[in-house]
Amino acid sequence: MEEPNLSVEISGFRMKNPLMLASGVLGISIGSLRRVHEAGAGAVVTKSIGYEPRVGYDNPTLVEVHGGYLNAIGLSNPGVKEFCKELSRSKIDDLPLVVSLFGAEPSEFKDMVSMLDGLKIKAYELNLSCPHVKGFGVEVGQDSRAIREIVEAVKEESGKTLFVKLSPNVTDMVKIAKVAEDAGADALTLINTIRAMSIDTETFRPILANKVGGLSGPAIKPIAIRCVYEVSKAVKIPIIGCGGVVDWQDAIEFFLAGAQAVQLGTVIAYRGPDIFEEIKRGIRNYLITKGRKSVREIVGLAHDF
């Protein structure tokens, strides 16, 4: 049996395998991004970077719930200037690095990209969907005009591959997705976390310091699968699935739904970076069993029914 081809290409961005590290997970230092790459990730996305440094919210910023985690890290990041230094501290040529960006204004995005673009970054991912920080994320991600302007501004500034990450905290995700496509996004990452909350029954308090946070993990997988399925029917650009992948079956489910690649986040808390090799192996064996030569061949098969 021929060895199946795990590599994928998303609008010019080539990955040795379709598994990416999701943004915000171990993504603040090159050291840990590199480690995740060495552990087997086909690409790694940084934590979302903003124009100014942000310490984020107070702790607790994370709490476990049934089937996942809530987090309200609050877009903590060292700011784009400092992050450019981080990227310059060591050679990153060999790293399939995607830089995630958030901001409130098109001009902010433009400025960040102009600072970063000279570095050996492979792609950008615009986080237009953080569910728990006012003024960024969800609010931007629900506003068609803001999305259009931001995407256009970044495309104007940079020729690199551009992913746009969207949130399911909206009435009509397909509409928002089409706006991003029209504005020039090369691919869509679906989904970011879902607004949620957990209250401690002993102290009567919301556990997260920010009260509301984003739900991630297996709990949201069926929602993410639905988003990928519906959006991939409606747009022509590739989709990167994200949300609750913990094993190779989950990854396959995303491919069948229409994703060309998948991102892994919360599973790192359960299984550590070694999960990448394990899922890769599972995908490989699955393709062999099904007589398929590449991941590409199974993308979107669920649409046939």
Binding site: R54, D58, N59, L62, V65, S76, E202, I207, I268
Partner: protein, 272 residues
């Protein structure tokens, strides 16, 4: 499944270790089974959640030792017996106890994770040379507890102060070489200010003695996902907080050189 949530525990006892350091005990089955060197995330509702080493590991009691530093630790410091806190964990790898000729060197609340380690090693009759350092006598903690632990073993306790107010005048690290020269040592355990630990590591490397050092980094999740505690390729909360010599070697560009603040920005460790 849903274990990474704060468990609310009541403080059984609160004991002054010094004017700025207190040990607080509570009942918690999981912490009573912790390895020395593991830590918990302590939730002070309405204020913050901060990492604390487990400093007391007994069958029916566990505890932490807090120094007032900023808002969260001060609020925690002021909670009286009968008050409640939230805890999750134990997290991290902890120390690996080696029953042999060991050296333990710590300062300040860095002694918190070293105390249960010392007690376990003493019980299993290791030969222990313990060095407790501090700027001045008022800052000393755990000296009596250390004496009680070391009492029955072939052990020795050395204290150092920078102002000479207790024990030998000088730095804790000054006391290492004399001991290493005097007798063979299988391992050195250390926790305290990072620059001290860095020095311990240098001396140990030169002398060919392995080290286990417990490092502090900003911790948010405590479970190896947020990345705030990363040093080199490692997550202090999950792959650490205890780093052995090969790992310390791997992260030597960062160890003792810089840490990151809550935003992820690099903060150089000052050399004073």
């Amino acid at each position: 499944m849903t274990s990474n949530r704060p468990r609310i525990v009541r403080l059984v006892d609160v004991k002054d270790e010094s004017s700025t350091v207190r040990t607080m005990t509570f009942r918690d089955d999981l912490c009573s089974k912790a390895k020395p060197g593991q830590f918990i995330m302590v939730w002070i509702p309405g204020v913050d959640e901060i990492p604390m080493s487990i400093s007391v590991i007994k069958e029916d009691l566990a505890g932490l030792t807090v120094r007032e530093v900023g808002e969260a630790s001060k609020t925690l410091f002021d909670i009286k017996a009968g008050g409640t806190i939230g805890i999750r964990g134990p997290y991290g790898n902890g120390f690996t106890p080696i029953i042999g000729k060991v050296m333990i060197i710590g300062a300040g609340t860095g002694l918190a994770p070293l105390m249960p380690l010392t007690e376990i090693l003493a019980e299993r009759s290791a030969s222990i040379d313990m060095i407790i350092g501090g700027k001045t006598i008022d800052e000393f903690v755990f000296v009596d507890r250390a004496k009680r632990a070391l009492f029955k073993t072939k052990s020795r306790l050395v204290t150092t102060t920078e102002d000479g107010s207790h024990g030998i005048r000088g730095l804790a690290t000054d006391a290492i070489l004399p001991i290493l020269r005097e007798k063979s040592t299988d391992i050195i355990y250390t926790c305290g200010p990072e620059l001290m630990m860095r020095k311990v590591f240098s001396i140990a490397q030169e002398s060919g003695v392995p080290v286990q050092a417990s490092l502090e980094r900003v911790m948010k999740c405590g479970i190896g996902i947020c990345g705030s505690c990363c040093i080199g390729k490692y997550r202090a909360c999950k792959d650490g907080p205890v780093f052995d010599s090969p790992k310390l070697e791997e992260v030597k560009d960062e160890f003792g050189a810089f840490r990151r603040d809550h935003s992820g920005r690099i903060i150089k460790l000052s050399t004073n």
